[in-house]
Symmetry: none
Subunit: 126 residues, 2 copies
DNA sequence: CCCGTCTTTTACAAAACTTTCACGTTTGGA
DNA sequence: TCCAAACGTGAAAGTTTTGTAAAAGACGGG
């Protein structure tokens, strides 16, 4: 008799994160959008994981930098912004009409997958 | 009764793997592409089996090396890359216009026969 | 030995990634 | 309405990773 194993192998952690139509496997470097694999760079993937782990909350650039790059964010360093932009581009390319990363000027970014809205449904909430 | 343990679990000798138009018999060293037998070297075959057993997931070079060559991948060793290239060449020769092995720079390789392809977003979805 | 085949190593070009910079746009307070 | 700070993002510059041809080494059968 054999011990039941979660996925029949002894490979990386089986941790899986879900966010909207996204399935993220941190231990593997893989993210699936509607079942299709995305090709993200190491930094893009790191950012996505870091934000997904704090889904719905505002995360400062300092925290994101520490989590993904390691160390302290130096004044004037725009790396986080640049990679947030890259990530947005790829996520929205894979899943049009959806917003994932929301900017909170002066505070940071908030990750929260949202369905698209109608043009007349504008509101102060984001 | 003994068991030829290749890697990652227990497999009977009658094991047959399917991946797209590929039929693989690990116990026989046989690969059929659209019914025709492929002529693969030992390493090429090992790679194909190792990847097929983890179809759809990203597998690092270290893991592939351990599974096929055995032991640890030393820094600077390009064996895996070279054989991925050889394997790609033969697979593509047998089944043109089909992609099997996808590169995820910084992470590893992912084996997935011809995912249903979205004609746009080709740079993002892989 | 001599071949043919497979494996390993090497080398270089191409592709991809990261960092930095620049500048236009947006935001929020006065 | 105005302005300074914050943000978005294309692109340059530099670095790293990957693709692959070819050289070099290994091995077994004639």
């Amino acid at each position: 008799m054999e011990e039941p194993r979660e996925n029949g192998g002894s490979h990386g952690q089986a941790e899986v994160l879900y966010a909207g139509e996204l399935e993220i496997r941190p231990g593997e470097g893989l993210v699936l959008a509607t079942g299709r694999a995305l090709r993200l760079s190491v930094r893009e993937f790191g950012l996505l994981v870091a934000m997904t782990r704090r889904i719905g909350t505002i995360v400062t650039r300092e925290e994101l930098y520490a989590a993904v790059w390691g160390g302290e964010l130096r004044p004037g360093d725009r790396s986080v912004d640049v990679y947030v932009s890259k990530l947005r581009t790829k996520l929205e390319a894979a899943m049009p009409d959806r917003r994932f990363i929301h900017t909170h000027p002066g505070f940071g970014y908030r990750f929260q997958p949202q369905p698209s809205r109608n043009f007349h449904n504008l509101s102060v909430v984001d």
